[in-house]
Symmetry: C2
């Protein structure tokens, strides 16, 4: 059998991996979910034909979405994850001893169910007593929450389909209000070598609301063109003011990507990004 899965990155580029076996195919109310066992990336989940998570490289994305903001916060207690139904982000958040509650608000229950079945190394934190799972629209839910979270992590798909509203100013405004004083939000903000205009738009929208707003980057081989970003948006403090080397070193004993050096290095942007995001300073 010579079975290949291809993601069309643009009209003119694609990335393909050979599949050992298709393990799942399902259509939820929101999207199409497929799970493959592959040679190079272990088990892989795709949503609407796009790589979502792979066993081989998920550690980078999940380290970077969680440990950067949690270690930039003085003592994060209450955390919300929007999207992220595979559980990888929750797994990392729960490594922080100060955290007493993690709410996971995932619109699509099928993502959670398939992750529980096929990705136990990701979904392992979903049954933790500190975790509360809400299968509902994160945009609607967050609008009901005020002054409730220390950290909000927007672990979303691309800005199309069910995730589109997670990139709007109205949503970011609600998230701002759902954060406590000193709160921090991190949002999945796309690939700088892929959709630079989208990256710029996300950063500019967040800058219009949050006093602190900084992009940071990291590699993800299975995302388009391999270079990805999160945006750090904070009500008061930057990424380093409350950063404690010793707290970070403790977390880094459990990680394969994140460590204190990476915490700092990830915010060093290349010139083409600085020029696009901060033209006045460049």
């Amino acid at each position: 059998m010579d079975l290949w899965f291809s993601e069309q990155l643009t009209d003119h580029s694609r990335f393909s991996i050979r599949v050992k076996e298709q393990l799942f195919h399902g259509k939820s109310d929101f999207q199409t979910i497929d799970i493959y066992d592959t040679h190079d990336f272990g088990k892989v989940m795709t949503i609407d034909g796009k790589f979502m998570v792979t066993e081989r490289d998920e550690f980078i994305y999940h380290d970077m979405i969680s440990h950067v903001p949690l270690l930039a916060h003085k003592a994060p207690k209450d955390v919300m994850v929007i999207g992220g139904g595979d559980g990888g982000t929750v797994r990392e958040v729960l490594k922080h001893d100060s955290v007493r509650s993690v709410e996971l608000c995932e619109i699509d229950g099928m993502v959670i169910e398939t992750a529980r079945k096929f990705f136990p190394t990701l979904s392992c934190g979903l049954d933790d007593p500190r975790t509360k799972i809400l299968v509902q629209d994160g945009i609607e839910y967050i609008a009901t929450r005020k002054d409730a979270y220390d950290v909000i992590l927007v672990d979303s798909t691309d800005p199309a389909g069910p995730a589109e509203g997670l990139f709007n100013k109205a949503f970011y405004q609600c998230a701002f209000e759902a954060l406590k004083d000193g709160g921090i939000m991190v949002v999945q903000s796309e690939g700088p070598l892929w959709r630079m205009d989208t990256v710029q738009e996300i950063v500019e929208t967040l800058k219009s609301l949050f006093p602190v707003c900084e992009l940071y980057t990291f590699p993800v081989p299975t995302y388009p063109f391999g270079y990805w970003s999160f945006t750090f948006a904070s009500k008061e403090y930057g990424p380093f003011e409350h950063f404690s080397e010793s707290r970070a070193a403790t977390i880094a004993k459990t990680t394969r990507y994140y460590n204190p050096g990476i915490h700092h290095a990830a915010f060093a942007l290349p010139n083409f990004l600085k020029q696009k995001l901060n033209p006045a300073e460049s």
Copy 2:
């Protein structure tokens, strides 16, 4: 016309881009060279079916191979580039005012000829009066040179075919002797998410000869899995001891990737790399 070029990254993964037009196909004594005009990456050169250089992303690789070692050196005067017949590395080296000579030693004259014809933005430095081009085997040439260079840049293809000898200890020993006191070599050292064992082998071989040896990383979307490395090997000084913020800032006025922040950030390695390269420290 629906013409695609695919690079087989492993037996089980491939990256493909749509081609507008094939501009060149040639077989030299050493390898097969193709040049395509593409939608997403502009003009692209492949060697033996592998992406070598593209107009769109070459700036990252060429900034990082050249400015990091040249700015780690107090005042580099004499530079040697082995491989790199496309000219991109020479172009960047020539931006440094202290440089009075650059020797480019490329085994395959066809790489230089096609770069001159199809990649004028890369080959533009080849006619500079400070540049001397040698079409010969870099391994043989370097063995004849002693105490001659401040910086040697090994801008090679993968360790197979004509470049294989550029990854051997015997070659690194000759390079060590060809460097002046305080000299620095940087070698293309493959992709950490692609061929980790090769990365480790290169670093360990260099460590057995050079007192200072450090890996640094950067994204290259058209190289396998998008995350790439160089190894910095130095006879005396590390990457930061002679680093001058103001010299770096001057160079950074001309670059799209490199800047002083990137100089430091590139050496911050993720845990999986630290553990592989320095298991005792991790």
